[in-house]
Symmetry: C2
DNA sequence: GTCGTATGATCTATTTATAGATCAAACTTG
DNA sequence: CAAGTTTGATCTATAAATAGATCATACGAC
Protein backbone atom coordinates (compact mmCIF):
# COMPACT_ATOMS: atom_id res chain seq x y z
CA UNK A 1 0.00 0.00 0.00
CA UNK A 2 1.18 3.51 -0.74
CA UNK A 3 2.59 5.39 2.21
CA UNK A 4 5.51 7.70 1.41
CA UNK A 5 5.28 9.34 4.81
CA UNK A 6 5.35 6.68 7.48
CA UNK A 7 8.10 4.52 6.11
CA UNK A 8 10.64 2.67 8.24
CA UNK A 9 13.76 4.70 7.64
CA UNK A 10 17.21 3.80 8.83
CA UNK A 11 18.74 6.11 11.39
CA UNK A 12 21.55 6.91 9.03
CA UNK A 13 19.38 8.31 6.27
CA UNK A 14 17.27 10.20 8.79
CA UNK A 15 20.37 11.77 10.24
CA UNK A 16 21.65 12.62 6.80
CA UNK A 17 18.45 14.44 5.90
CA UNK A 18 18.39 16.17 9.27
CA UNK A 19 21.98 17.30 8.91
CA UNK A 20 21.38 18.62 5.44
CA UNK A 21 18.47 20.65 6.70
CA UNK A 22 20.53 22.07 9.54
CA UNK A 23 23.35 23.00 7.21
CA UNK A 24 20.89 24.76 4.96
CA UNK A 25 19.42 26.70 7.84
CA UNK A 26 22.81 27.72 9.15
CA UNK A 27 23.97 28.81 5.74
CA UNK A 28 20.77 30.75 5.15
CA UNK A 29 21.09 32.64 8.41
CA UNK A 30 24.79 33.24 7.80
CA UNK A 31 23.84 34.89 4.52
CA UNK A 32 21.15 36.90 6.25
CA UNK A 33 18.37 35.56 4.07
CA UNK A 34 14.81 35.20 5.26
CA UNK A 35 12.89 32.03 4.65
CA UNK A 36 10.63 34.00 2.32
CA UNK A 37 13.56 35.21 0.25
CA UNK A 38 15.03 31.77 -0.03
CA UNK A 39 11.67 30.35 -1.00
CA UNK A 40 11.20 32.97 -3.71
CA UNK A 41 14.64 32.30 -5.10
CA UNK A 42 14.14 28.57 -5.19
CA UNK A 43 10.68 28.97 -6.66
CA UNK A 44 9.01 27.13 -3.81
CA UNK A 45 6.76 28.02 -0.91
CA UNK A 46 7.94 29.22 2.47
CA UNK A 47 6.31 26.28 4.16
CA UNK A 48 8.47 23.91 2.13
CA UNK A 49 11.58 25.75 3.28
CA UNK A 50 10.48 25.12 6.84
CA UNK A 51 9.99 21.41 6.21
CA UNK A 52 13.33 21.14 4.45
CA UNK A 53 15.21 22.81 7.31
CA UNK A 54 13.39 20.55 9.75
CA UNK A 55 14.63 17.48 7.92
CA UNK A 56 11.33 16.23 6.54
CA UNK A 57 11.89 12.93 4.69
CA UNK A 58 9.03 13.59 2.28
CA UNK A 59 10.38 16.67 0.57
CA UNK A 60 11.28 16.33 -3.09
CA UNK A 61 15.00 15.84 -3.49
CA UNK A 62 15.02 18.42 -6.27
CA UNK A 63 13.67 21.10 -3.97
CA UNK A 64 16.11 20.23 -1.20
CA UNK A 65 19.14 20.17 -3.47
CA UNK A 66 18.09 23.38 -5.16
CA UNK A 67 17.82 25.18 -1.84
CA UNK A 68 21.13 23.75 -0.69
CA UNK A 69 22.71 24.99 -3.88
CA UNK A 70 21.35 28.50 -3.45
CA UNK A 71 22.64 28.91 0.08
CA UNK A 72 25.94 27.31 -0.82
CA UNK A 73 25.78 23.98 0.95
CA UNK A 74 27.99 21.64 -1.08
CA UNK A 75 26.37 18.41 -2.20
CA UNK A 76 28.68 15.42 -2.20
CA UNK A 77 32.35 15.77 -1.61
CA UNK A 78 33.22 17.07 -5.05
CA UNK A 79 33.22 20.75 -5.87
CA UNK A 80 30.51 22.29 -8.06
CA UNK A 81 32.64 22.58 -11.17
CA UNK A 82 33.70 18.96 -11.22
CA UNK A 83 30.22 17.63 -10.73
CA UNK A 84 29.14 17.70 -14.36
CA UNK A 85 32.25 15.86 -15.44
CA UNK A 86 31.66 13.35 -12.70
CA UNK A 87 28.25 12.57 -14.14
CA UNK A 88 29.80 11.81 -17.53
CA UNK A 89 32.55 9.68 -16.05
CA UNK A 90 30.00 7.77 -14.06
CA UNK A 91 27.87 7.17 -17.10
CA UNK A 92 30.79 5.62 -18.94
CA UNK A 93 31.55 3.41 -15.99
CA UNK A 94 27.93 2.32 -16.01
CA UNK A 95 28.01 1.10 -19.59
CA UNK A 96 30.75 -1.33 -18.70
CA UNK A 97 28.60 -3.05 -16.11
CA UNK A 98 26.11 -5.82 -16.88
CA UNK A 99 22.77 -4.43 -17.97
CA UNK A 100 20.78 -6.80 -15.82
CA UNK A 101 21.40 -8.62 -12.57
CA UNK A 102 20.49 -12.27 -12.76
CA UNK A 103 19.44 -14.29 -9.72
CA UNK A 104 21.09 -12.27 -7.04
CA UNK A 105 22.55 -14.86 -4.70
CA UNK A 106 25.04 -12.69 -2.88
CA UNK A 107 22.91 -11.23 -0.14
CA UNK A 108 24.40 -7.85 0.66
CA UNK A 109 24.58 -7.20 4.36
CA UNK A 110 23.44 -3.80 5.47
CA UNK A 111 24.75 -3.04 8.93
CA UNK A 112 23.90 0.52 9.79
CA UNK B 1 0.56 27.71 -8.18
CA UNK B 2 1.69 24.29 -7.18
CA UNK B 3 4.00 22.58 -9.62
CA UNK B 4 6.62 20.38 -8.03
CA UNK B 5 7.52 18.81 -11.36
CA UNK B 6 8.32 21.54 -13.87
CA UNK B 7 10.47 23.78 -11.73
CA UNK B 8 13.45 25.75 -12.98
CA UNK B 9 16.31 23.82 -11.45
CA UNK B 10 19.92 24.86 -11.54
CA UNK B 11 22.25 22.67 -13.51
CA UNK B 12 24.23 21.96 -10.39
CA UNK B 13 21.40 20.44 -8.41
CA UNK B 14 20.22 18.48 -11.43
CA UNK B 15 23.67 17.07 -11.86
CA UNK B 16 23.89 16.22 -8.19
CA UNK B 17 20.64 14.28 -8.30
CA UNK B 18 21.67 12.56 -11.52
CA UNK B 19 25.02 11.60 -10.08
CA UNK B 20 23.45 10.23 -6.95
CA UNK B 21 21.14 8.08 -9.05
CA UNK B 22 24.01 6.77 -11.10
CA UNK B 23 26.05 5.93 -8.03
CA UNK B 24 23.09 4.05 -6.60
CA UNK B 25 22.64 2.08 -9.78
CA UNK B 26 26.30 1.22 -10.00
CA UNK B 27 26.43 0.15 -6.40
CA UNK B 28 23.29 -1.93 -6.78
CA UNK B 29 24.66 -3.79 -9.79
CA UNK B 30 28.01 -4.24 -8.10
CA UNK B 31 26.20 -5.95 -5.25
CA UNK B 32 24.22 -8.06 -7.69
CA UNK B 33 20.89 -6.82 -6.45
CA UNK B 34 17.84 -6.64 -8.65
CA UNK B 35 15.67 -3.55 -8.66
CA UNK B 36 12.91 -5.63 -7.12
CA UNK B 37 15.14 -6.73 -4.26
CA UNK B 38 16.30 -3.23 -3.56
CA UNK B 39 12.74 -1.96 -3.65
CA UNK B 40 11.60 -4.59 -1.19
CA UNK B 41 14.43 -3.79 1.17
CA UNK B 42 13.76 -0.08 1.07
CA UNK B 43 10.04 -0.65 1.42
CA UNK B 44 9.22 1.14 -1.80
CA UNK B 45 8.01 0.17 -5.24
CA UNK B 46 10.20 -0.96 -8.10
CA UNK B 47 9.02 1.95 -10.21
CA UNK B 48 10.37 4.36 -7.64
CA UNK B 49 13.76 2.68 -7.79
CA UNK B 50 13.77 3.29 -11.52
CA UNK B 51 12.96 6.95 -11.08
CA UNK B 52 15.60 7.36 -8.42
CA UNK B 53 18.30 5.79 -10.55
CA UNK B 54 17.21 7.97 -13.45
CA UNK B 55 17.73 11.09 -11.37
CA UNK B 56 14.12 12.20 -11.03
CA UNK B 57 13.95 15.50 -9.12
CA UNK B 58 10.52 14.72 -7.71
CA UNK B 59 11.42 11.68 -5.62
CA UNK B 60 11.18 12.03 -1.87
CA UNK B 61 14.60 12.67 -0.38
CA UNK B 62 13.88 10.08 2.28
CA UNK B 63 13.40 7.34 -0.30
CA UNK B 64 16.52 8.35 -2.20
CA UNK B 65 18.73 8.52 0.88
CA UNK B 66 17.36 5.25 2.19
CA UNK B 67 18.15 3.47 -1.05
CA UNK B 68 21.59 5.04 -1.16
CA UNK B 69 22.19 3.86 2.37
CA UNK B 70 21.17 0.29 1.57
CA UNK B 71 23.48 -0.06 -1.42
CA UNK B 72 26.28 1.67 0.42
CA UNK B 73 26.53 5.02 -1.33
CA UNK B 74 27.93 7.42 1.28
CA UNK B 75 25.94 10.58 1.86
CA UNK B 76 28.06 13.57 2.71
CA UNK B 77 31.77 13.29 3.28
CA UNK B 78 31.59 12.02 6.84
CA UNK B 79 31.40 8.34 7.63
CA UNK B 80 28.17 6.76 8.88
CA UNK B 81 29.23 6.56 12.52
CA UNK B 82 30.12 10.22 12.81
CA UNK B 83 26.92 11.43 11.23
CA UNK B 84 24.76 11.32 14.35
CA UNK B 85 27.33 13.28 16.32
CA UNK B 86 27.55 15.76 13.48
CA UNK B 87 23.84 16.43 13.79
CA UNK B 88 24.24 17.24 17.48
CA UNK B 89 27.24 19.45 16.91
CA UNK B 90 25.37 21.27 14.19
CA UNK B 91 22.37 21.78 16.43
CA UNK B 92 24.53 23.42 19.06
CA UNK B 93 26.09 25.66 16.46
CA UNK B 94 22.60 26.62 15.36
CA UNK B 95 21.54 27.84 18.79
CA UNK B 96 24.32 30.37 18.77
CA UNK B 97 23.00 32.00 15.63
CA UNK B 98 20.27 34.64 15.59
CA UNK B 99 16.83 33.07 15.62
CA UNK B 100 15.47 35.39 12.98
CA UNK B 101 16.98 37.28 10.10
CA UNK B 102 15.95 40.88 10.02
CA UNK B 103 15.79 42.97 6.83
CA UNK B 104 18.22 41.02 4.75
CA UNK B 105 20.32 43.67 3.05
CA UNK B 106 23.28 41.56 2.08
CA UNK B 107 22.11 40.07 -1.18
CA UNK B 108 23.89 36.76 -1.52
CA UNK B 109 25.17 36.18 -5.01
CA UNK B 110 24.50 32.74 -6.40
CA UNK B 111 26.76 32.11 -9.35
CA UNK B 112 26.33 28.53 -10.45
C1' DG C 1 9.66 49.04 26.04
C1' DT C 2 7.62 49.64 21.28
C1' DC C 3 7.28 48.67 16.42
C1' DG C 4 7.97 46.10 12.43
C1' DT C 5 9.19 41.77 10.73
C1' DA C 6 10.44 36.87 10.67
C1' DT C 7 9.16 32.62 12.06
C1' DG C 8 6.34 28.59 13.17
C1' DA C 9 2.10 26.41 12.96
C1' DT C 10 -2.24 25.28 10.87
C1' DC C 11 -5.81 24.75 7.33
C1' DT C 12 -7.78 23.96 2.48
C1' DA C 13 -7.51 23.10 -2.50
C1' DT C 14 -5.00 21.16 -5.99
C1' DT C 15 -1.29 18.92 -8.19
C1' DT C 16 1.72 15.35 -7.94
C1' DA C 17 4.13 11.27 -6.38
C1' DT C 18 3.62 6.54 -5.36
C1' DA C 19 1.99 1.76 -5.39
C1' DG C 20 0.59 -1.95 -7.95
C1' DA C 21 -0.16 -4.46 -11.93
C1' DT C 22 0.85 -5.52 -16.69
C1' DC C 23 3.41 -6.09 -21.03
C1' DA C 24 7.16 -6.13 -24.38
C1' DA C 25 11.97 -6.08 -24.99
C1' DA C 26 16.56 -7.09 -23.62
C1' DC C 27 19.60 -9.52 -21.07
C1' DT C 28 22.08 -13.56 -18.67
C1' DT C 29 22.87 -18.08 -18.00
C1' DG C 30 23.37 -22.76 -19.42
C1' DC D 1 20.02 -20.96 -29.31
C1' DA D 2 16.52 -21.56 -25.68
C1' DA D 3 14.53 -20.63 -21.18
C1' DG D 4 13.88 -17.77 -17.49
C1' DT D 5 14.41 -13.38 -15.52
C1' DT D 6 15.30 -8.52 -15.28
C1' DT D 7 14.39 -4.31 -16.90
C1' DG D 8 11.88 -0.34 -18.78
C1' DA D 9 7.66 1.62 -19.91
C1' DT D 10 2.80 2.52 -19.27
C1' DC D 11 -1.64 2.87 -16.96
C1' DT D 12 -5.00 3.60 -12.94
C1' DA D 13 -6.30 4.58 -8.16
C1' DT D 14 -4.99 6.54 -4.10
C1' DA D 15 -2.34 8.94 -0.72
C1' DA D 16 0.61 12.63 -0.06
C1' DA D 17 3.25 16.80 -1.05
C1' DT D 18 2.89 21.50 -2.19
C1' DA D 19 1.12 26.19 -2.64
C1' DG D 20 -1.17 29.79 -0.59
C1' DA D 21 -3.20 32.19 2.96
C1' DT D 22 -3.77 33.24 7.78
C1' DC D 23 -2.71 33.79 12.69
C1' DA D 24 -0.08 33.95 17.01
C1' DT D 25 4.32 34.22 18.77
C1' DA D 26 8.99 35.53 19.06
C1' DC D 27 12.58 38.03 17.64
C1' DG D 28 15.61 42.11 16.43
C1' DA D 29 16.25 46.96 15.74
C1' DC D 30 15.64 51.37 17.54
Amino acid sequence: MPRPADRPYSRYSEHAVALLGQLIRQSRIARAMTTAELAARAGISRGLIQRIEKGDMGCAIGAVFEVATIVGVPLFYSDPRTLAAEVDRQRDRLTLLPKAVHTAEIKAKDDF
